[in-house]
């Protein structure tokens, strides 16, 4: 409860002002890239469920409505390096 995230545009805000956008898991394909089906399947479906630091995306829907990337420690909820 009341985990706070430092939005680069708006400042420190309770996590309830954000939508969780998932863990960053590799580069999504572009029209230029070649797709390895197995790697793409893993990227879309598999999650490591880390006990520790993970890099994740959050959308500040209650404020600036922009995405940010943060490193969060899933054990302590300490949020670092928000950009």
């Amino acid at each position: 409860m009341a985990l706070r995230i430092d939005c680069p545009n708006c400042g420190s805000r309770p996590f309830t002002e954000f939508w969780f956008g998932g863990v960053l898991a590799g580069e999504p394909p572009t029209p230029e890239s070649t797709i390895d089906p197995a790697a793409e399947f893993a990227r879309v479906w598999y999650r490591s469920n880390v006990a520790g630091m993970q890099t994740e995306r959050w959308f500040h829907f209650a404020g600036c409505r922009r995405w940010l990337t943060a490193c969060r420690d899933t054990l302590t909820h300490a949020v670092h390096d928000v950009h």
């Binding site: 545009n9 708006c10 400042g11 420190s12 002002e17 829907f61 209650a62 404020g63 600036c64």
Partner: protein, 171 residues
């Protein structure tokens, strides 16, 4: 005494590169709010809507970076709260701190609604998404009876109202 009223406002959203927005010139009577690195809002009285849009468009066109200025006024409901007790209204409905410096621009949830606030001493303009604009006035009128709130008639947006009731709430 706490006075609240709907302020008829013009809100122009400007979308462009960071540098171009940094150079947006001022418009008398309007507030420049930086909502994101790529977005800037001009907030002024409804009576200046056309001029405000033209002012923004001119600047972006001159910059030549394919920016866009849009009048988004209809999507927002502006509630102006002023007088003693304004600070308490903020304390009750927002979990976020007010930064130093006046006026301050704060984006975040107010009474659980995504809101943008322009904050002066003893006066706050709350910019609320129109579909939820009914909620904050209701909460203030019914949940803050101890602050003696009063709903005044809607008026044209005034950035810093000079006729402020004797203030006691320094924000």
């Amino acid at each position: 005494m706490l006075e609240i009223r709907q302020s008829r406002s013009a809100i122009v959203s400007c979308l462009d590169e960071r540098g171009v927005l940094d150079g947006m010139p001022d418009f008398a009577g309007a507030f420049k709010a930086r909502t994101a690195t790529d977005e800037l809002w001009l907030i002024g009285p409804a009576s200046s809507a056309g001029a405000l849009l033209a002012h923004a468009t001119d600047h972006l066109v001159r910059a030549g970076t394919s920016g866009l200025a849009v009048d988004v006024s209809d999507g927002w409901s502006v509630l102006t709260v002023q007088g003693a007790g304004t600070a308490q209204v903020w304390e009750r409905f927002s979990e976020n701190p007010i930064p130093a410096g006046r006026p301050a621009f704060v984006q975040g949830a107010v009474a659980a609604v995504p809101t943008k606030a322009v904050i002066f001493d003893s006066c706050i303009h709350f910019l609320i998404p129109a579909p939820l604009g009914y909620h904050l006035p209701h909460r203030i009128l019914h949940g803050c009876a101890d602050l003696a709130p009063r709903m005044a008639d809607p008026a044209d947006f005034v950035l810093y109202p000079t006729a402020i009731i004797a203030s006691g709430g320094v924000l």
